[in-house]
Symmetry: C4
Subunit: 304 residues, 4 copies
């Protein structure tokens, strides 16, 4: 048993501690509205679509705001504005705002009075600072060290060395290398005797490899020391089992440690099955080729 930080409460519902995407399935409530939000974290973790919508609507919103300020100052304070209708005045000032905040400054519309000059000088400073923030966020997004691993959809209980072994496979999806990979596997289930949730570290046959070059089958031998010993899948379901996986590796491009998390629940288990060997060959020039998408495939064995 070990301390993971998830407590030992036995929940009435089925729980999941780690989601399939690796996030920790916990919501922290009771803090003030912005106390548990880190805006930068949100911006670098948001989906591309969300980020685009934030930038795009922010750009339009700020330009409407400044167009309104310029309109209140008075369109006659600006040279080159289309004065034909109030609507056209507003549109001209909207375009003037866009040309100012991006520091584009064609100059066919330009500030004449001092009030207009001050407002434009402020808007261009705001534009530069916003752009500085955007540069930082975009850089933060792509320079964030990542480990993009593929996990086999199922976790197998396979005959192994006169007994059984718990096995799943991982592979690196990307073209960058992951080196010095380490696996740390924990199992949690409710203990029907104590009515508490318990956490167990699972011993691994091999817990560290130098290169995650091909695929890695991670094996926990189900021997007498294993908390899985003599449990069947129905037991696992009743005890609301979860296998919590933490892989640590060095992302070679950034020379930085990266972490990947995953979890399996009882319905992901398959007993008496064995992973198929991945298609793996060497070219004439000595390059190895491996078919990564075969990682999920397994054969169901005849009953032993």
């Amino acid at each position: 048993m070990r301390e993971l930080g998830f407590g030992s409460k036995n929940y009435k519902n089925t729980v999941r501690f780690i989601n399939k995407d690796g996030s920790v399935n916990v919501e922290r409530t009771g803090l003030g509205l912005f106390d548990n939000v880190d805006i930068y974290h949100w911006l670098i973790s948001a989906s591309r679509l969300h980020l685009f919508l934030v930038i795009f609507s922010g750009y339009i919103g700020v330009n409407i705001l400044f167009a309104a300020i310029y309109y209140l100052i008075g369109a006659q304070n600006f040279g080159g504005v289309d004065m034909s209708t109030p609507y056209q005045q507003f549109m001209s000032l909207f375009f003037f705002s866009a040309q100012t905040i991006t520091t584009l400054g064609y100059g066919h519309i330009y500030p004449v009075s001092n009030a207009a000059g001050v407002a434009a000088a402020a808007e261009s400073l705001l534009g530069l600072l916003s752009f500085a923030i955007a540069t930082g966020v975009l850089f933060g997004r792509f320079s964030r060290p990542k480990a993009d691993l593929l996990y086999s959809k199922n976790i197998l209980i396979t005959p192994y060395e006169n007994a059984y072994g718990l096995m799943f496979r991982i592979s690196n999806k990307k073209q960058y290398e992951l080196i010095e990979s380490e696996a740390n596997i924990t199992m949690t289930m409710n203990n029907p005797e104590t009515n508490k949730r318990e956490f167990y570290n699972l011993n691994l046959e091999i817990s560290k490899i130098n290169y995650l070059a091909l695929s890695w089958t991670i094996v926990h031998p189900i021997d007498e020391n294993s908390p899985l010993y003599q449990l069947n899948i129905k037991d696992l379901e009743e005890r609301d089992v979860e296998i919590l996986i933490l892989i640590k590796a060095i992302n070679d491009t950034f020379s930085q440690a990266v972490y990947s998390r995953y979890s399996y629940k009882a319905h992901d288990f398959v007993k008496n099955a064995k992973f198929k060997a991945l298609k793996q060959e060497a070219t004439q020039k000595g390059k190895l080729k491996i078919a990564v998408n075969d990682i999920h495939h397994f054969d169901v064995l005849e009953e032993m």
Copy 2:
């Protein structure tokens, strides 16, 4: 006893080594004016208001400076300047400066003579470089790895395993995950016998957890080996006790180690009290919810 780097001097005043915000409460004097200032460090640690004031007043100041330079060169060296009064000339040149340093360049005011051209070319280079620095500072501010922990306001002395335990609680305030958290707790007090300040490492029941997902109650058993053994709160006050806390964790978004510090003084101690359990439940979908703001709550126990 161990070496923390705070020396062993017994100060006449009450001292505090670590502030509540985690900063080390030391001032280093005797160096030259700028020797112990790192401007970048100041810029990325300053409050948002201070940074805004620095940027804003810097922007105005530099524009006033360049407006003055342009005014000395002579307003007639620039096309499009409002020549009506010296004041308006200066204002026009101030706006021209703002349009130049931001590389906005509407062009309704523009340099005519060579001297004006050279000054404007210099100002626009200065603008680009200042903006490069601002981009770096803003990026440095938000990409700085942080651990934003909530510490219980009090540190309790609670009945624990036939004796007492020293206990406080922490929780992660933000939505990013902190993994592989480690606690390192040191106590310092004056020794009335030697008249020296001493530092002790406090043994912890559990000093490392995998996920700081819910809350973590950090427990030091007050047994015979503890320097707190058989001391009461009045003793702690007289000896000017301080509990120094260093939490190290991995910020999962940045895959980087982060540190959080905190300290408790004698007046933060409560004897014979026990933390209330946090409200913690699972949703129908298996998500855990925890009310983080209850971390401070405790019950005072009847005298044993």
Copy 3:
């Protein structure tokens, strides 16, 4: 034997696991078209020429695209366009596009209608964001921690302490310092008995040095415990030997761990040879000079 992550398959062809440039010689197939591409990784790993071509053709392409959009909106919606021929209209709009996306904005060509204003406002935003990405990519490229090591072209089998030693030399090519360098050497060859590929860790005389200041001759003693014991070069060739080298060091400029990989195949081995001493001297002022390019030189010894 140890687990490197390259499996134990005995390929019919000669294989090479690590290329001379340090990349892992594996291709992962079977994923979707973009699943195994990380664009940022590509951009920061690409050669300078490739990156230049991408930026240059992207710049021209986007300007042609926006010139076409402006042309469809109608050249009469823009002031200052050369209307003499459709070709000249397009060229004017192409230049207008370039002046907009770079936020240059001379303003001799400028949007008149609302449609033109909207398109230009969109293009200038696109320009700023693209430029933000370019800034991030360029910064990512040069701030990437590197270890630029020079490896001796050959790996020698040299008489050493009454037996033989396997020896190669490395040196730091750059002017930055590498400290706390560690070498980790693995050998792989096919085992003719089991018909499997096996991996062996090679013990090193010294596996860690404080400063990679001069050159470092890395020595594996070929004693009875060595998998190379009593094998000659012909054996090594038949068994398709590969020496896999992983050097880890701290790049002192960035205070960051960096990794360098290299490999030797059977044809890189030279038996009964000895590295020449590097020319190494101290100046009058106590500075050490070392001729790094001599690292490859060795003397062939007479048969023992």
Copy 4:
């Protein structure tokens, strides 16, 4: 004895391995002209003055180059150029170039022909990319993790526990905190018997402290196990001794490991001297004050 990576050659001259500024005193020759230069490393390590000169002369040079290109294209291809003399044409085009490369674009000078338009479009792209590089370099310069330590000018041999101790002091000059500081001290001297240079690790009384808050006196006890045992300063001079110091710490602002190096030669040794206590007091509010500049002061003791 240990392996530092400086070899064991006994140089005829006095040598210094580590300079007072922490750089390694080695020059690597024999490589191609640019093989051992990393431009980014140069830019982020250069002095502020050097960097300013590079940027400033680069800016002028590129503008002269593009002014010449525009002049060759012909000044009549540009609107708004002062055509009075060839010199004034060139000056106008120089200013046009500056307004283009900074994307300022007032527009009082503007490209008319297609050739002029193409050249200006190319220059503005070059400007943006150069500026992206400048942003990266400036950010790289200040975000570089640093440890700015003050070392006592001398290294003392002080009576210590019935024998002698080798002592020097360090202190943190900056207002950021350094935590988990570790010292690693090596001594090198020529061995008159073997005529080889040898390196020894020096045992330290305390080699790690939690906070480098005040000052840290690093002590090596000169007992029978010390290579300094029964050597006097004249011996040290003859054997060309050097004490090589490597301090590793965590810079708290960046949560990153930083390294500081220093060295002492024989003429920095003082025997029978003792460091003065630093002035150290606590304010009414419990803040500690320490006079860092006193770190160098010592008292010479009467002969024992």
